[in-house]
Amino acid sequence: MTRLIRTELLKLATVRTFPGILLGALALILVRFAMVVISAGKAEASPLGTASSTRDLLMAVGSSAILLMVFGILSVTAEVRHGTIGWAFLAVPIRWKVLAAKLAAVMIASVGFLAVTGVTVVGLAAWVLAREGISSSVISREVTAAFGGAIVGSLLYAALGVGFGALIRHQVAALMIPLGWLLVVENMLPNFGLTWLYVWMPGGATAALARADLPGLLSTWVGGLVLFGYAAIAVVIGGSMLSANDLT
């Protein structure tokens, strides 16, 4: 299995797409962080040093979640699109092993990425606060828990992406369906009085995990478990379909 995981990591490292997505995700995090700093104290935004703005600074790391999901989706669909999946299944005919190795490789890459970006964001936040003469004690336990939740949520999004990729496989559909659901459909649910449904959806579960300030959210642990459940279901169903379908 170690060899297969190494192979999948090699696949991610030998084309520009995957490092490009991670660089894009890093840029997104930095832009979000900069916007929180620039907008602090203006209009309705809290000034720096408050629990709310400190939380917003650290939560910039969560901006990468969607791109990590895209990373996971493309790890499977790019192989289908370019016809390299046939080589993978010829080398390892037990298709579950290929998907498991792919999931492990995406998780390893995501953990590495989140470790680097997490440290970067915390370092930048400490520097910004110090520059403003604000004690780092504003990084409360609550803020730390939300930060941890955003990191775990982002990781689960990457796993969710691998599952979606295996489930849908057609690259455009595999990208459009989850993105459309998460960015459009789910966000509209509270507008239709369906908040009770929204909180059980992946976006609602992520908000719970990141301790967002929204009414009716699930507890952090339940939110995490729900998101994990979605990722696990997507991987299991996607893996079963990948194993059962002909590769023509």
Partner: protein
């Protein structure tokens, strides 16, 4: 001993029967051509042998085992299949390194196969800039990477120039000479006549013929024929019929005497006093035999 055994293989896609109870064997140490018209089920059969397509019934075994049950399948079977492609952004060397990592062969083997297929100087080029022939060579490099004894190749000569086709023929011949087995599909029958020992001919997913190339080329209804150019084809037809030699006209001034020797036809011509401009013996070409075996009315 059979290196590949296909037994009663059946595969349908929706209402289309791609392979219909197909059975054949490929002898170890031989090159076997797999022939049939477009849509006759060749690619589906080859994909079923290596576990990429799941048959509805029947089985395909390589060295006595279904491909997915082999402990190290790539070390036993190397496959070049239509549809198995490359990431356009990866270089040839990187594509092979990924494969080498997956099948567990050392990196130095990558440079060996690049050299073997003549792609060393293009190793760092991205595949998106490759010609069809170069892609075929890279595909062959992938199939040869783990030094398998059995090769399964779907249209390997596609896109190769004449030099490339000769190179491929020699490569396959050397592989078979070392005891290796090759099953290859091709539309280029003339090439198969030169490189293959045996042929498996299918039509609409069913076996229509199997045997040695020489046997198939000469073993149809008409083993040989004599072509005669004459200004009196009708008279010649009558004279041949009277001598018990079946014959038919071919064009305005030609008569083809079937299953007859030039001596027999010459005597008939001499006895009847018919003017003849030209007479030559011919044998059916493999291409004609295959076309006859797979034509629509069969």
């Amino acid at each position: 001993m059979a290196a590949i055994e296909v037994r009663q293989l059946t595969k349908t896609f929706g209402s289309v029967v791609a392979v219909d109870g197909l059975s054949f064997e490929v002898t170890e140490g031989s090159i076997t051509g797999f022939v049939g018209p477009n849509g006759s089920g060749k690619t589906t059969t080859l994909r079923a042998i290596v576990g990429l397509v799941f048959p509805d019934a029947g089985e395909a075994l390589v060295n006595g085992l279904p491909y997915p049950q082999m402990p190290k399948p790539s070390s036993e079977v190397g496959a070049l299949l239509e549809g198995n492609d490359f990431h356009p952004g990866r270089s040839a060397r990187r594509h092979l390194r990924v494969l080498a990592s997956a099948v567990g062969v050392p990196r130095k083997r990558v440079d060996e196969v690049l050299d073997l297929v003549g792609l060393t100087e293009h190793a760092e080029r991205r595949v998106k800039g490759f010609s069809l022939g170069m892609r075929q060579r890279l595909g062959l490099a992938g199939a040869l990477l783990a030094q398998p004894k059995t090769l399964i190749l779907d249209e390997p000569a596609n896109g190769l120039d004449p030099d490339g086709i000769r190179w491929l023929r020699n490569l396959l011949r050397e592989h078979a000479a070392r005891g290796g087995t090759v099953l290859l599909s091709s539309h280029v029958i003339a090439e198969l006549a030169l490189s293959a020992d045996h042929l498996v001919v299918i039509k609409q997913g069913r076996l229509v013929a199997q045997g040695a190339v020489a046997e198939l080329a000469g073993g149809t209804d008409h083993r040989q024929f004599v072509r005669v150019r004459t200004p009196a084809p009708e008279l010649l037809l009558e004279a041949l019929a009277a001598a018990g030699i079946p014959a038919k006209t071919d064009g305005e001034n030609e008569v083809v005497a079937l299953d007859a020797s030039p001596e027999q036809v010459g005597q008939v011509v001499s006895r009847s006093g018919i003017v003849v401009y030209e007479m030559q013996m011919d044998r059916p070409r493999l291409e004609d035999v295959i076309l006859e075996l797979t034509k629509e009315s069969n």
